[in-house]
């Protein structure tokens, strides 16, 4: 039992505990706050897996941007909403058994999976390596990503924009 294992178990416990808490809390805002802890501990796991750049991206985008945008979504819709009506018992049993079957099948496959070798030097100049790889091998997907982000930006604005003429007709 060394320090790395202890760190892993603490991070995993925080991640799974916040995930379960997310399912069981009643207020929607509390659910989002619980999820921030899951994202932060996943960032810690990335550092353990020698992916420092990805850990910073995770903290910036997930626990920063996505959480804020979800809070905006909650505040712009019905923010005092509680998970008032419980899901019907038969439905949750069916869903739970399906997920349990999926879990057991996957768990049996990955239980003692090991390839024996591991990369020792991924954490040396991590961001530089990612940049070189991105701009030499994956330049076309990288550019397509910018197109995707532009399309998502324009699409989100068009969808969320108030349709003035139609609204005026409805209000009359």
């Amino acid at each position: 039992m060394n320090g790395e294992l202890i760190l892993f178990f603490v991070l995993a416990l925080v991640a799974i505990g916040s995930g379960v808490l997310m399912l069981n809390l009643t207020k929607v805002v509390h659910m989002v706050i619980a999820l921030v802890f899951t994202f932060l501990s996943i960032a810690g796991l990335y550092i353990m897996l020698s992916a420092e750049f990805l850990a910073f991206v995770q903290i910036l985008i997930y626990s920063g941007a996505i959480t804020i945008i979800m809070l905006f979504g909650i505040m712009l819709t019905r923010h005092d909403d509680r998970a008032e009506k419980k899901v019907s018992l038969p439905k949750s049993i069916i869903v739970l058994s399906g997920i349990a079957v999926f879990f057991v099948i996957m768990f049996l496959q990955i239980n003692d999976l090991s390839f024996g070798e591991q990369a020792a030097e991924l954490h040396v100049d991590n961001a530089e390596k990612i940049g070189i790889e991105l701009y030499s091998k994956y330049i076309i997907p990288f550019e397509l990503t910018s197109v995707l982000l532009l399309v998502a930006l324009v699409g989100a604005i068009v969808l969320a924009k108030r349709d003035d003429e139609k609204e005026a007709e409805d209000n009359e």
Partner: protein
């Protein structure tokens, strides 16, 4: 050498994926369904980064793929919330089981 084996990371990702799947299938608030989908994508990212370090022929490609996944997930969240806000303006609800206008 790392003392935490590959399979432990995979099992953690599997548990997080199952939590996200349960949330996406049973929650009624559409914002929570979107958040559960984000959790599932995060579990997939853990797998990609773990295989980048421990897989056959380990290299940096797994981390690049995880970056692309994060980008696409961010775009998906933005568009999903825009659809949700437009829907809320028309139907005054965010519950997924009341979104049944395609049925008629």
């Amino acid at each position: 050498m790392s003392s935490v084996p590959l399979s432990v990371y995979l099992v953690l990702a599997l548990i997080l994926f199952c939590i996200g799947l349960y949330g996406a299938l049973t929650k009624r608030n559409a914002v929570i369904v979107l958040i559960s989908i984000e959790l599932m994508l995060n579990a997939v990212n853990i797998n990609l980064v773990a295989f980048a370090k421990f897989g056959i022929n380990p290299n940096i490609t797994g981390q690049i793929f995880a970056l692309f996944t994060i980008t696409v997930a961010a775009a998906e969240a933005a568009v999903g919330l825009a659809i949700l806000i437009a829907l809320y303006r028309n139907r005054k609800t965010v519950n997924v089981d009341e979104m049944n206008i395609l049925k008629r």
